[in-house]
Amino acid sequence: AAAMIPVSSSFANYVPVGGPALPPPVDPTKRIGPGPSKIGKRSTFENPARKPSDISSRSPLQDFYSTITPADLHFERHHAGIPDIDPNTYELLIHGMVERPMKFTLAELKRFPAVTRTCFIECAGNFRTGSEQMTPQDILGLTSQSEWTGVMLSTIFSEVGADPKATWFLAEGGDASLMTRSIPAHKGWEDAMIVYGQNGEAIRPAQGYPARLLLPGYEGNMNVKWLRRLELSDQPYWTREETSKYTYPVHNKIRMFSFEMDARSIITYPSFPQKIEKGWIEIRGVAWTGRGKITKVEVSTDAGKSWNDARLQEPVLDKAHTYFRYLWQWNGDETEILSRAIDETGYIQPSIKQLIEARGTDLGGYHMNPVTAWQIKQDGTVLFKPEGRK
């Protein structure tokens, strides 16, 4: 008789009438898998992870196939941890040199005309060296890229009647560090945004939920997270983060207000601790500049003696991580491979030597963007080549 089978929520658990009891087959073509769900998961074979310290975590750049950083792997730099902000009580205050000091709820910010743009954020302190056993993540994992959505700051400036004579504005975070930075007003009128969307969804708590400042191309610290206040002013505030921090020695002076991140690149494949084989190798990496578009990435496979153009992954976007690839046939000889980024202003990513010549030997750790070199050993081992400081 026709067995009336209720519609089960998944056929996976269905036991056939009269069928033989078989052990579960390991061949995935012979075993029904779990069905659809509300939220997907990674394969258990894939475990990408950031490397956290007390105050920051580094993105696993060597694990990325392209330039959108999965939101849960975006690098972090917090000054007092991640605040737990209720989006229903969140408000943004904007005051100072404006016609109308105003407060906006999150829902109100979302009602303004929205814009989406993809760009990188990089911590100005994104530089480490010292050991041959360093991965791209160890060396410069404090940069990530997202597709950000929000309102142009210029729209908000217009709404509050920002005084055209204001030359700076202060941005303050709503975390326990109440972190502040002074930002030139022109950046606010140009391409600054208040963003609430990251890679299509709500911005993650670690990246500033429910809203952060986005200053495309400017040092990460200025892209104030958990934004709660903007004050327009006719001078900077010389806050702690722009004096005691994020400044660096240049000969006998201390350089401050370095905003744009200089052009930079790194080969992420092959890199430590990967091993390569003789034959065709596609050298891969990422390049970026805070000053516009990457126009060229050059790769050297002979320790810097000659340079060749890498292919750039299109579309090449403004102030964005740009993936590059370069086909190389390795003959098994020991060598060094390097990449250097060139941006639309004509800037060529410098060697450590050029940086020392320009700034002196006491370089500090901010705004360091030297060319990164990888040593290729005869057995295919790849090692980082730490920069000499002299």
């Binding site: 007092a80 205050l93 910010l109 560090s177 206040r229 002076k253 800037y347």
Partner: protein
């Protein structure tokens, strides 16, 4: 262009006027010209006592770097010579107002926002005095603090790079 593509910018009418009380509550920043400094005052002696109670645990007994000791917080006291290490208030901070502003909003790290304005003035006085920038007896308030000329001020230069081929 990736910019806002709206041709005209109307006023949208979203949001509301912030009240003066709301602004005052959040407007805690202090500029080098003294704008934003509150009423009140403090001195190094009081500051030393507060420091002993609330800061020592993280920054150490004197705020100085002690060889071989790794504290959870940075050193706050060294000397005023540009070449000396560690880089602290005495040799690396261009404005004294920044010290008041930063401590009031952030310190003590575990209880941010818990200090009174008078306590912050006193701690500012104590740390400036410990760094040999002011005399121990100088009272810090909205008038005296902005007048301090920090030893490092003269070292700070604004980045003048504008992109282009120059490595600078």
């Amino acid at each position: 262009s990736l910019r806002d593509t709206i041709r005209h910018t109307p006023r949208f009418g979203f949001g509301r006027i912030a009240t003066e009380a709301e602004i005052a509550k959040w407007d805690i920043d202090v500029r080098p010209d003294g704008k934003g400094l509150p009423a009140g005052e403090g001195d190094a002696a009081k500051g030393k006592a507060i420091y002993a109670l609330k800061c020592i645990a993280c920054h150490g007994a004197t705020g100085e770097e002690v060889p071989g000791v790794k504290l959870p917080a940075p050193a706050l006291v060294s000397d005023t010579s540009a070449k000396s290490r560690p880089k602290t208030i005495g040799n690396y901070w261009p404005y004294a107002t920044t010290l008041f502003d930063y401590m009031r909003r952030t310190m003590p790290y575990n209880l941010p926002g818990s200090l009174t304005d008078n306590e912050v003035y006193s701690l500012t006085a104590y740390l400036l005095s410990a760094n040999k920038i002011i005399k121990p007896e100088t009272v810090m308030n909205a008038q005296t603090l902005p007048r301090i000329v920090m030893p490092a001020r003269k070292l700070f230069v604004t980045d003048d790079r504008k992109g282009g081929p120059e490595i600078k």
